[in-house]
Symmetry: C2
Amino acid sequence: MKKIKIFSPATVANVACGFDILGFALNSPGDEISIETNVHHKIVLYNETSYELPSAPEDNATAVALQSMLDFLKTSQGFTVTFLKKIMPGSGVGSSAASAAAGVFGANELLGRPFTRKELVRFAMQGERVASGSAHADNVAPALMGGFTLVRSYNPLDIIPIPSPEIYATVVHPQIEVRTSDSRKILRQEVAIKKAIEQWGNVAGLVAGLFSNDYDLIGRSLHDVIVEPVRALLIPEFYTVKQAVLDAGALGCSISGSGPSIFALSKTLSIAEQVAQTMQNGFNNIGIDNNVFVSLINKEGCRVME
Amino acid sequence: MKKIKIFSPATVANVACGFDILGFALNSPGDEISIETNVHHKIVLYNETSYELPSAPEDNATAVALQSMLDFLKTSQGFTVTFLKKIMPGSGVGSSAASAAAGVFGANELLGRPFTRKELVRFAMQGERVASGSAHADNVAPALMGGFTLVRSYNPLDIIPIPSPEIYATVVHPQIEVRTSDSRKILRQEVAIKKAIEQWGNVAGLVAGLFSNDYDLIGRSLHDVIVEPVRALLIPEFYTVKQAVLDAGALGCSISGSGPSIFALSKTLSIAEQVAQTMQNGFNNIGIDNNVFVSLINKEGCRVME
């Protein structure tokens, strides 16, 4: 039996102004799995991480994503997946997306690459459906393809890779619980057209800034006038931390996915590290445990480790 | 006294998904003015066009724009402006914007270019305020700067030029009256967040398509799910004409500005001309007089003719 080890990156969805459409991948943290073909004609899961993960294949994002790919191929090939390292579930940096992406990416390698990375998005999304209740693509697309990705449309699914200059992300995960379902529930179903126009001006500006390597424009565009003002309520001292991060020189700062993690983008590693210290101090000051990660934007997406 | 002649292009604002933020310039039609310095310390207007234009400087878009620039410079230099050719007012292709842009562009040339084209936008917007009641920039920016422009933000004003591949516009002006004020009044002040997300996915896709010369992506992104469905009600047989235009091979088709003109973008001149014929037939069939223009996207903006 062939056996490979896969790294699948954490991802930041929304990216301030790009609610539900933009995301980017990180070099760390990430999931690590090993995957091998088996002769049992089914998906077998082993968990060697420190986190409790759904063990029934029908509840597990990786298994559901993988099964949807196998169904499409009309193959009864079995796979054994062992979870080795896991992004902390519920942290808001695409934990379920990384797992779903890892599974379909690894199986695709073992099967001789019947699909492109972009084609795998459709299967990985099915893992998101079971993990979060909606088959969104804004985390699985960057996890699979790397870099910044745009989900232009779901119907039909249209994923666009967005090139970017060298840019550093800092992510802080304050150890508080924010359920994705809660953080969706508090969003309004209607928004003021004035705010929507501001938002799509910024989305257009962000895409233009990424294409033209214009850090200043990227920074000017990293504003979310629709979702952040609501979700910020779920994160203690969000605005205090954000202001300190901007003062430390970050291009922009907002909530990662549905939170509670907060991300910032910076032009240099030294600013990104200064931002990390600032984030850590911000949450330490109010007695909230936190983990901070500094990473170049991952341009590759999932990869075979060995 | 120095005297120059200026061409100022018609412009298409909104560009489907980019309501209030995107616009592009046409090679034709356009305004032509002559402008010269005078010794009267005031703005003097002559109208040699076939249209009635506001003759009082305080009501005239060109004079108001020009005066705001002179006020900024704290100069009492007078200018005499003669309107030679005029885009038909009320057609929805930036008639007032072309006039306002022409005035400030011409005066800037005569004064030795104290301002960049981008800096002139702020003054030209003042002409829009008197012409349409709001100092919007989505027509004056492309009129002055050429190509596609993005108004990322008004506060502070942030205009971003968006590069584009060679692309042809076809514009039909059906001879019906749609007041800009009416076409703004019928817009809803709140929009469903689902629609807003679709819209900003398409805006991001359009900007990405323009940057990457991806005609197919440009076409896939030219959808307006928020404003077009409302304003289409003011244009007889809009959807019939639009469908015929798409069937003729256009990348996309929507309402120009607040209408009643309709624009389409095409990859080649021959498609753009086929689209023109289709538009003309569409309105001829229902007995509505119409003018059709085919033009490469104007990349230069206002220019000195002689």
